[in-house]
């Protein structure tokens, strides 16, 4: 049934010439997948840019509700996790399995820290009555602001800004959680000694996926937290 053969200790499917052919084809597939990622997030970025140009005051008012310090810490956490992910591949290439496993474990922990910070940001917003789009509870939000002695909301359509905020950071957070699952899978496979210098295709592929998660956050951070 199986139509693969073993070359240099690696299972190679029959439709590939050799190990390298299989590796480069897999990688090309990952890059095609990355294009779809760019276009999926890109649609949201384009919509954000256009609505921002139409309603700049509303976006400025919305960004006021975000704490840039939390976004800043999350940026540092994600950059560090990107480094450890890259090192995970590096150690697989050098056949240093234990170090690769540690690097991958640190990556998952960093992703976890990112999600915990996101959880606190989200629950705080829900507590204030901030929800995406029409679900934003203006009365609750204004009561909260009045109690805190802060100016009340000026834009009646503030929910539009938070529609973008929750969609963009939520879709990104979903990617972080999927990434955590994939990297945990890599971690287990690494511990079991599945990867070697001529076979680390899943690590490379998940690595590229993880870096694009970082790449998107690099733009989301100034967009949502700083510029607004």
């Amino acid at each position: 049934m199986s139509t693969s053969r073993v070359i240099d200790g690696v299972n190679v499917q029959s439709h590939y010439r050799d190990v390298d052919h299989q590796f480069s084809s897999a990688k090309q597939g990952i890059w095609l997948f990355m294009v779809t990622e760019i276009l999926m997030f890109g649609g949201l970025f384009v919509a954000y840019a256009l609505y921002h140009m139409m309603y700049p005051e509303m976006f400025a008012e919305g960004a006021r509700f975000l704490d840039w310090r939390l976004g800043f810490v999350n940026t540092l956490v994600l950059i560090f996790s990107s480094l450890t992910m890259a090192l995970g591949i590096y150690y697989c290439q050098l056949n240093q399995t234990k170090k690769a496993a540690i690097a991958l474990a640190v990556t998952v922990v960093c992703a976890g820290i990112f999600m915990v910070i996101k959880y606190f940001e989200y629950t705080h917003k829900f507590h204030m009555g901030i929800f995406p789009g029409a679900m934003l509870n203006m009365e609750q939000l204004n009561n909260y602001l009045a109690a805190a002695g802060e100016p009340l909301v000026k834009s009646p359509n503030l929910g539009l800004y938070f529609g973008f905020y929750f969609c963009m950071s939520g879709l990104h957070g979903l990617h972080v959680m999927i990434g955590m699952g994939l990297i945990t899978w890599l971690f287990i496979k690494t511990l079991r000694g599945h990867f070697k210098p001529n076979y680390y295709t899943p690590v490379e592929g998940v690595g590229i996926f993880w870096h694009i998660v970082d790449l998107i956050w690099i733009f989301l951070f100034p967009l949502l937290y700083l510029v607004g």
Partner: protein
């Protein structure tokens, strides 16, 4: 053996299993951290920068994005085809933005007599 492979391949610009030296990863990570602090630095003086503040923030983000793509995603050492594939994503994104923007700014208001 892997070390030897690394030195063999570093001479050529691209290869299938290019091993980026550890020191390069560290330098890139430090640069990314410094640029993140720089973003916050410029953010704290945004009143003086005015409209340029957003431009500075996105310029720094673009440099960070380049570093991640080139070194962490290994695009600098990847084959040209993969670089081209990834670039098409950004090209079509630009098209999406341009055509949508054209639509929005070429609309004639309802109350216009045109």
């Amino acid at each position: 053996m892997a070390q030897k492979k690394s030195s063999d391949h570093s001479a050529e610009h691209e290869s299938l299993h290019h091993i980026t030296p550890f020191s390069v990863y560290m330098k890139v990570a430090i640069a990314l951290f410094v640029l993140t602090f720089l973003t916050i630095g410029f953010h704290s003086i945004r009143e003086y920068l005015g409209p340029a503040a957003a431009l500075v923030a996105f310029a720094i983000a673009a440099v960070k994005a380049y570093l991640v793509m080139a070194y962490f995603m290994h695009l600098k050492y990847d084959i040209p085809l993969n670089r081209l594939i990834f670039a098409t994503g950004f090209f079509f994104l630009l098209l999406l933005f341009a055509i949508t923007a054209l639509d929005i700014w070429s609309r004639v208001p309802v109350e216009s007599i045109l």
